[in-house]
C-alpha cells in the first residue's frame, strides 16, 4: 500500500462499500480499495458499468458513507462529513442544472451558499463563464441551452467555488461524438489552467487514455491496475485490462527464462522473444497469455524475417486503416491493424498467405 504523501489530494484507504446487511447477503460495490491520487492530477476511474467507479466517486463526494475504510482529502479525514462540508464539487452525468435559475444563477449558487461577498461572486461567475466560453449566455435559462452548453454550465458551476478536487461522473456520455472530442480537449485545458485535481469517471477507454495523467482500471469493486495511459495500454498487467482497453491479440505461450521485469517467452505459434512481465511473478515453463496490440504487427515479405504466419481470413476497412484477421496454423487468430496509406494495403486479399513481424518490446505477459 502506498504511503500518503503531503501532496496527496485524495488518499483512499482500504475502503469498502457494501449495500445490504453484510458481505455475504449484500452487494459489494467496492472491495477494500486503496488508492492515492496526487494533487493537480487528472485521474480517471475506468471500468464497465457496475465496477464500482461511480460508487467510489460518491463516497468521495459524501453522498454515500463507506462501510469500511477511510478517505483523506489533503490530510483531512472526511468521515461523517456531509457533502456540503466537503471542499469537492461534482459534475453530474445528467448535469443536474437548476431549471428555475439562469446560467449565472446556477454558477453563483455554490458561492452564495459559502456566503461569499457579492462582489467576489460576480467576479468569479464572470471568470468561470469566460473559462468555459459561455459569457454570452449568462442570462439564459438552462433549458434553453444545447447539451454541450449545459455541459459547460455544469462544469462552470462545479469550478466556481474553487474546489480542492473536482469529481466528474461520466460527464461526456450524453454528448455526440464530435462534441465529446471537443470537450475532452476542453476538460484537459481546464484542468491545466485551474490546477484543480480532477477525478474523472468513465467507461470509455479512449476518453480515459486521451485525457488522463493516470488511470485506474476497475472491475467488480476492485482496482486492477493503476498507471499512466501508456502503461495501461502498452503494459497491461491483467487479461481484463488488456481486453477492456483497445483491441488486443492474446496468444498462448510459455516462459523460457526471466530477467527482472522482462522474460523470454516462446509463443505456441513458434516465435521466441522478449516480453514484459507483470509484478505477480510467473514461474518458468508455465503456460501464460501473451498480449500483442494489433498495430504492433506488420506484414513482411520474406519468410525469414517473419515471426508469425497465416492466412488472411477477414479484412475490415474503417477509414483511417484496415483490420486484418489472420488465421495461424495453430488455430489461433491474430488481428493486424495497418494505417491507410493510399491503397497499398489493398495488395492483400482474403485467403492470402502472409508473413507477420512483431515489433520489438511489444509483447506483454498477462496475469489472469
Amino acid at each position: 500500500m502506498s504511503k500518503p504523501t503531503a501532496t496527496a489530494a485524495i488518499d483512499i484507504r482500504e475502503t469498502s462499500k457494501i449495500y445490504g446487511n453484510d458481505r455475504a447477503s449484500g452487494v459489494v460495490a467496492l472491495d477494500e480499495v486503496s488508492l492515492v491520487i496526487e494533487d493537480n492530477e487528472f485521474f480517471t476511474l475506468l471500468g464497465p458499468s457496475g465496477c464500482g467507479k461511480t460508487t467510489l466517486l460518491r463516497l468521495i463526494a459524501g453522498f454515500e458513507q463507506p462501510t469500511h475504510g477511510e478517505i483523506v482529502l489533503f490530510g483531512e479525514h472526511l468521515e461523517g462529513l456531509p457533502p456540503y462540508k466537503r471542499p469537492v464539487n461534482t459534475v453530474f452525468q445528467h448535469y443536474a442544472l437548476f431549471p428555475h435559475m439562469t446560467v449565472a444563477e446556477n454558477i453563483s449558487f455554490g458561492l452564495e451558499m459559502l456566503d461569499k461577498p457579492a462582489s467576489e461572486i460576480s467576479s468569479v461567475v464572470k471568470e468561470v463563464l469566460g473559462l468555459v466560453q459561455m459569457d454570452h449566455l449568462a442570462d439564459r435559462k438552462t433549458d434553453q441551452l444545447s447539451g454541450g452548453q449545459q455541459q459547460r454550465v455544469a462544469l462552470a458551476r462545479a469550478l466556481a467555488p474553487k474546489p480542492k478536487v473536482l469529481l466528474l461522473d461520466e460527464p461526456l456520455s450524453a454528448l455526440d461524438f464530435k462534441l465529446r472530442k471537443e470537450m475532452q480537449v476542453e476538460l484537459k485545458r481546464l484542468q491545466n489552467e485551474t490546477g484543480i485535481t480532477f477525478i474523472f469517471v468513465t467507461h470509455d477507454q479512449e476518453e480515459a487514455l486521451t485525457m488522463s495523467d493516470r488511470v485506474a482500471v476497475m472491475r467488480d469493486g476492485l482496482i486492477l491496475q493503476v498507471g499512466t495511459p501508456s502503461e495501461i495500454y502498452d503494459r497491461p498487467a491483467r487479461r481484463f485490462v488488456a481486453d477492456f482497453i483497445g483491441d488486443i491479440n492474446i496468444l498462448k505461450g510459455s516462459i523460457v527464462s526471466r530477467n527482472g521485469s522482462r522474460a523470454k517467452v516462446k509463443l505456441e505459434a513458434g516465435h521466441e522473444g522478449e516480453a514484459g512481465l507483470p509484478t505477480n511473478a510467473e514461474s518458468l515453463g508455465q503456460e501464460v497469455s501473451i498480449a500483442i496490440r494489433p498495430e504492433q504487427l506488420s506484414f513482411v515479405t520474406e519468410a525469414a524475417a517473419a515471426h508469425l504466419s497465416g492466412a488472411i481470413e477477414h479484412i475490415s476497412y474503417f477509414g483511417s486503416g484496415f483490420d486484418y484477421q489472420i488465421l495461424m496454423p495453430t488455430g489461433e487468430k491474430v488481428m493486424l491493424q495497418s494505417q491507410n496509406r493510399g491503397g497499398e494495403n489493398l495488395a492483400f486479399q482474403l485467403g492470402d498467405q502472409v508473413h507477420i513481424a512483431i515489433s520489438d518490446n511489444s509483447m506483454q505477459i498477462l496475469a489472469d
Partner: protein
Amino acid sequence: MTDQPTTPVPLSSSVVAEAKRLRNARYALLAPGILTIFCIGIMPLSIVLVYSFLEPGDFGGVSWVLSFDAYVQLMFEEDIFDGTLSFTTDYMEIFMRSVSLALFTTVACLLVGFPTAYFIATQPPARRNAWLFLITIPFWTNLLIRTYAMLLILRDQGVINLSLIETGLIDSPIPMLYTDFAVCLGLVYAYLPFMVLPIFASLEKLDFRLVEASYDLYATRFKVLKRIIIPLAKPGIAAGCILVLIPSLGAFITPALLGGGKSLMLGNLIELQFGQARNWPFGSAIALVLMVMVMLSLIFYLRFGAKKGTPAHG
C-alpha cells in the same frame, strides 16, 4: 402521355370544402365541453348576476324590478323609519373575518400539507399509493358527518378535554368548540387533501438529483428546501393554496357547526340570504363580490407573484 382527357380538378373549391368540414368537425367535438361550461358555468353565473340587480320577492325569489339596493346594502344601513342611508361596516367585518380565517386556514394547510406531501413523495413508489389512499379516505364520508365528528372531539365533554382532565393536566375543560380556532381546525381538516395532492404532484416530478447537486454545492438542508425544493414545487403550492383558499372563503357547514353561528362567515351570510332572510338579490350580490375579489387576487398573483422566480415550465 395518355389519351384520356385530364379532368379539371376544382382544387380551390375542394380545399374550401375540406376546411369547412374540418371546422364543423372541430365544433362537433368541442360541443360537449362548450355545453358543460355553458350549463354549469356561464348560465348559473348569469342568473346570479341578473338577480343581484333585482328586488327581493316577498316569499323568496325575485321581483323583476331593476335595483342597486343589494350592492348599496353591502356598505350602507337604511334607517327603518326615515329611509336615510348611513355607512356601516357590519358586512365588511364579515368579509374581513372570512378572508382572514380563510387565509389562516390556507397557511395552516400549507404548513401541515407541505411536509406531508414531501414525506409521501420521498417514499418508495409502492408505498406512495398507500399513503395517498390514506389521505383521501376521509373524502369518502360526507363533509357534514366529518364536521360532526370534529364537534365530538372538540366539545367540552369531547375526547380532548376528557382525556386532559383524566390525566389531571387541567381541572376544567378548555373551551374549544364555537371558537374561530374550531372553525379553522375544521376547515384545515376538510381541505387538507386539496393542499397535499397538488404539492405531492409537483414534488413527485422533482428531480432529486437536483437536491443532491445542491448539497454538493454547499447548501445545507434548510437552504436546499428554500432555494431548490420550494421554488420547484411552487406551481403545486400555488394550486394547493388556491384550492384551499377559495372553498374556505365560501365554506358554510363548518363555520355553522363548529363556530356555533356566533361568528358569521360569508358562506353563512349568503346561505342566510337565500334561506331565512329571503333576500336573493343581496345573497347574489355578496356571492358576486366574493367571486370578483377572488378573481382579482388570482389575477394579481399571476401578474406579479408568478413572475418572480417561478419556473418557466411550471
